[in-house]
């Protein structure tokens, strides 16, 4: 590992200048990509993922469909240049399969699959850059992409990672912090405040766990506001576009009629 960097200095600042509970910059881009039904490029600091949704559509493999609900299929692809060291991961790599399985089971109860029997929803995740918080970026991006695709869900799923530095809880860890600290990812459904995903992989005392767990739940609510704003922006843009396009084709004549009426 590189030289020892102070994770939390005496002034209460972290290595990238954030405060303990400060989240990284989040940027959301939901513009159209290729022929996808919905897509979202989401950046948490330097971590960047692109999620595209296809569906609900007819499944490629008919045998895998279910008669009473839609099947969710998740494929994750980590780009070889997304980390500092170039590493090619096969698609059957266990870590990637696990990530895909986690995303799949997180969204299965949230997406209203029962509305689309015998069909399939494909979620393709491209990891463009990694700097910690991969799972939470994937979950947030998938939520937004599903919303953009117009797939009905019961609620948002907002995920945040958290960790502890000695006794101080931190939120939204970078790669550097993740390597050194026990950390976990929590996904909440903001409307009910319930938790759909908890993933802790490093040793942590039970009392500390409770502390970060609660904190991450609150941070999820904050993140929800940001995500909701992005969805609203997109929708208002779409509505504007619809209005202008509805006016234009019938352009000249109707406008004149309107003016005539106004003159009366």
């Amino acid at each position: 590992m590189s030289s020892r960097v102070e994770i939390l200095n005496d002034g209460g600042y972290r290595s990238d200048g954030r405060r303990q509970y400060e989240l990284r910059d989040i940027s959301i881009d939901t513009s159209q990509q290729g022929s996808a039904d919905g897509c979202c490029t989401l950046r948490h600091g330097l971590t960047e993922v692109l999620v595209t949704i296809f569906g609900p559509r007819e499944a490629k493999m008919r045998s895998q469909t279910l008669h009473d609900r839609a099947v969710i299929n998740v494929e994750v692809n980590v780009l070889p240049f997304s980390t500092g060291e170039r590493r090619r991961r096969a698609r059957a790599d266990r870590r990637i399969l696990e990530l895909a399985a986690t995303i799949k089971s997180t969204f299965e109860p949230v997406v209203q699959t029962a509305l689309y029997p015998r069909s399939q929803v494909d979620i393709y995740v491209q990891v463009l850059q990694q700097d910690g918080g991969l799972l939470h970026a994937c979950v947030n991006a998938t939520t937004l992409a599903l919303i953009c695709a117009g797939i009905p869900m019961t609620d948002f799923v907002c995920a945040v990672s958290g960790g502890v530095h000695s006794t101080e809880p931190l939120l939204d860890l970078t790669m550097l912090e993740e390597n050194d600290l026990p950390h976990m990812t929590v996904a909440v459904m903001p409307r009910t405040g319930k938790v759909t995903l908890v993933a802790l992989e490093t040793r942590l005392h039970v009392d500390r766990f409770a502390e970060i767990f609660k904190l991450a739940g609150e941070a999820g609510q904050a993140l929800h506001k940001e995500m909701k704003r992005a969805v609203r922006n997109r929708t208002s843009r779409l509505v504007d576009a619809m209005e202008t396009s509805m006016k234009q084709p019938v352009g000249g004549e109707r406008d004149v009629v309107m003016e005539d009426r106004m003159d009366f």
Partner: protein, 339 residues
């Protein structure tokens, strides 16, 4: 190559409008027009060089088009023990995102990836194009230059876009400066030796230090000197080829097919040209894809035409890449001034 299947009627419609006089295309282009290409270099901060290319993005909605992400990464390889080759080597890989080909099964996707990788790798890793600054220490260490290309969306003509993106990423690649270090068996030089002598038996200490150095006289390592920029540009970056795909629809041909046009042209001729400065143009690769035949005489004129198109494309790309360099340097300088 993978194209969305189109109906017979649709195919005939596209074919006959392409062969009409004047030829008609769905997006209003002439036969030899390219769609608008958007190119940005330096998009992946963790790579040594990178580029994002979009061909045919619709300006209003900001979506659609063929989208390629390319990045190069340099790694040090050991020539003696590792898999390195003296003078460095280049490996090219193409990955296709399943979202670019939603209709393909994962096996078909793997095959397509393999096909594209072969075309790109065979062309770009050819010794004639090899940059000469990939060696670090002769017969010891060399750079492995891996070029990774990702097809994020395919709206036709992925091959031309792939070559353009690869060229842009390679153009953007900076090779870190290295300085070879030689161990010299000079006697009584370093402070290290003095310390050893002071410690124990003076004679033995001096000898052992000398011995190890003697052994290493031949051996050499390198270091990365601190310098203000990320390194020097890759050698021979004007040599990297561009590719034009001629979609043949006798008696005419057309360029930059969209996916539905790709499906209706029976034969494609892939021509890859390199235009090194001060040297004659060379044809780097030629492939005929699809079923059909070509008369030899036709071939000659097609080659000549292809060269012309490729030169135009090359010049446009070159100008854009130089622009990008200027843009990024200005940005970097601005950042520097801010500090």
């Amino acid at each position: 190559m993978a194209t969305a299947s189109i109906s017979k009627a649709e195919r005939t419609y596209i074919q006959s409008s392409l062969q009409a006089n004047p030829p008609l295309r769905a997006d209003g282009r002439s036969l030899l027009d390219y769609r608008t290409v958007f190119l940005e270099t330096g998009v992946a901060p963790l790579a040594n060089g990178s580029a994002r290319l979009n061909m045919g993005k619709s300006p209003q909605e900001g979506g659609g088009g063929t989208e390629i992400l390319a990045a190069t990464k340099l790694e040090v390889e050991d020539v003696e023990t590792g898999g390195g080759v003296d003078g460095g080597r280049l490996v090219c890989t193409v990955t296709c995102s399943p979202s670019a080909y939603p209709q393909l099964s994962s096996n078909a996707l793997d095959e397509l990836q393999y096909d594209l990788t072969t075309v790109l790798h065979q062309t770009l890793a050819h010794p004639a194009l090899h940059p000469c600054n990939l060696g670090i220490l002769p017969r010891k260490k060399a750079w492995l230059l891996s070029v990774d290309l990702v097809v994020l969306a395919d709206a036709g003509n992925a091959l031309d876009a792939l070559f353009m993106a690869a060229r842009a990423a390679l153009w953007d690649t900076k090779v870190p400066r290295t300085r070879p270090i030689q161990y010299q068996g000079r006697r009584g030089g370093g402070a290290n030796e003095d310390a050893m002598e002071a410690e124990g038996d003076p004679a033995a200490g001096a000898r052992s230090a000398f011995d190890t150095r003697d052994m290493k006289r031949d051996a050499a390592d390198f270091e990365l000197p601190d310098y203000w920029d990320e390194g020097e540009v890759l050698d021979g970056r004007d040599r990297w080829p561009v590719c034009v795909t001629l979609n043949l629809l006798p008696p005419t041909h057309f360029l930059d097919a969209t996916s539905s046009e790709e499906g209706s042209a029976p034969v494609k001729l892939l021509l890859t040209f390199s235009f090194p400065s001060n040297q004659p143009t060379s044809l780097q690769a030629m492939r005929m894809i699809g079923s059909g035949e070509l008369l030899l005489a036709q071939m000659k004129s097609l080659l000549a035409d292809g060269e012309k198109y490729a030169r135009d494309l090359f010049q446009a790309l070159e100008a854009k890449l130089r622009d990008e360099d200027v843009r990024r340097n200005v940005k970097a300088r601005g950042k520097f001034a801010m500090r």
